[in-house]
């Protein structure tokens, strides 16, 4: 049953997703893309759409994947998608909701303890590795193309985008819009 699988995956994502949206991506990739519920391309598209719409990427991706995954599995009616969206969105916030509501006092009291400090000292470099792995996972033939020309164009777009984000104050939304316009002019004609 696809819904039970989605619930189980999103519980794991909500429970082990430390370090923000980008760090969650590799977990989502593993739980959602690897089983084949959505394709690599779709996954990248979801990240792009999440960037261009308001709200946290974790919510956005859960809502979109929850809608699309049941359809890919053969539950074709939009109502099945709506149900999937609702389930995924609720489940992805549920673990942290309960943790924040019930353990925040405990954590607040012990935040100077060796255990809590140690955990975060250890998680910090791991989170950077998680984000890096998401970037590596996205650098594939589905996103960059398989023909030489396509790959060269993709690499140029990626390098320009990276430079824009790192060295200017241009908002990521405009980087995505600019690359979309570039894509239109390069590939449409």
């Amino acid at each position: 049953m696809i819904y039970l699988q989605l619930i189980w995956s999103y519980i794991k994502i909500g429970l082990f997703g430390f370090g923000g949206g980008y760090a969650m991506l590799s977990l989502i990739e593993r739980e959602i893309v690897s089983p084949g519920w959505i394709t690599e391309k779709m996954f990248t598209d979801i990240v792009a759409i999440s960037q261009m719409t308001p709200g946290p990427i974790g919510i956005n991706s859960a809502t979109y994947i929850g809608y699309v995954a049941p359809m890919q599995a053969g539950f074709d009616a939009p109502l099945w998608g709506l149900l999937g969206s609702l389930i995924c969105t609720v489940v992805v916030v549920l673990p942290s909701f309960l943790l924040v509501a019930f353990t925040s006092h405990l954590i607040h009291r012990h935040r100077d303890s060796l255990l809590i400090r140690g955990i975060f000292t250890g998680l910090r470099p791991v989170v950077i590795g998680l984000i890096a792995s998401a970037a590596l996972l996205l650098m594939n033939g589905e996103n960059f193309g398989t023909e030489t020309n396509h790959i060269i164009i993709s690499v140029i777009i990626a390098v320009c985008s990276l430079a824009m984000v790192l060295f200017t104050k241009i908002h990521p939304i405009f980087v995505i819009i600019a690359s979309g316009i570039a894509g239109f002019f390069i590939y449409y004609f």
Binding site: L15, F16, I59, V93, F97, L99, H108, L166, I176
Partner: protein, 221 residues
């Protein structure tokens, strides 16, 4: 310990004073977070800034120190940061019901917008409509770049040096490697947490031993 108790008490007093009848605050919480959820692109830290401005400066629901305390807790728990902080703020103000009001306010705008997009911008359309397909072909490599950027900036802010750089490199390589079990991100979250605790434990013990040695020497003299 006593200090924190006192601050909780005073904040509770201030809340009841501020909220008047106190019933309307659930609605106000919901609307405040709904606005924030609807107008922040990208989530995360952009959202935190807006939330702080709203609950500390314009609404005066909690003090800045309290907000920073809540933020520290929200950050240390898994899940979506913006949701965590809204749950923490709502919980502080009105308990469980406040937490639900604030969290649903944060979630609702992105849920609605994405749902609309999912209905109209189907994977089929992205694949087969030539205009949309070419636009997304340009966007995909840019998305990769957008994820590389925070790797570099957060490595700087986390003070990753030559001694620790192996950790993110090994983690990223193993997750990417696709080896069964070993490539599971959950494994590295657990290992990192446990390893960090072990490392700090040994470091503190080492420091303590040194301190004791020093004291012993001084006593001998």
């Amino acid at each position: 310990m006593e200090d924190s108790k006192k601050s909780v008490k005073t904040s509770a007093e201030r809340i009841t004073a501020n909220s008047g009848a106190g019933r309307g605050i659930l609605r106000k919480l919901f609307i405040s977070f709904l606005r924030i959820g609807a107008f922040t692109f990208g989530g995360g830290w952009a959202m935190i800034t807006l939330i702080e401005r709203e609950v500390v400066e314009s609404r005066r629901w909690i003090s800045r120190e309290e907000f920073l305390d809540l933020l520290a807790v929200a950050q240390s728990l898994p899940g979506i940061l913006a949701v965590n902080i809204s749950v923490a703020v709502g919980d502080r103000l009105r308990g469980m019901r406040g937490a639900v009001a604030a969290a649903s306010g944060t979630i609702l705008p992105s849920f609605t917008i994405i749902l609309l997009i999912a209905v109209f911008l189907t994977p089929d359309l992205i694949q087969n409509n030539r205009v949309v397909a070419s636009i997304f072909a340009g966007i995909r490599p840019a998305v990769t770049a957008l994820i590389v950027a925070p790797v570099l900036t957060s490595a700087r802010s986390a003070k990753i040096g030559w001694k620790t750089v192996w950790i993110p490199v090994v983690v990223a390589a193993l997750i990417w490697s696709d080896i069964p079990y070993v490539s599971n991100p959950i494994l590295f979250v657990v290992l990192g947490a446990f390893g960090g605790w072990l490392w700090l434990h040994r470091k503190e013990k080492h420091l303590r031993n040194k301190q004791l040695e020093k004291e012993d020497k001084e006593a001998d003299v």
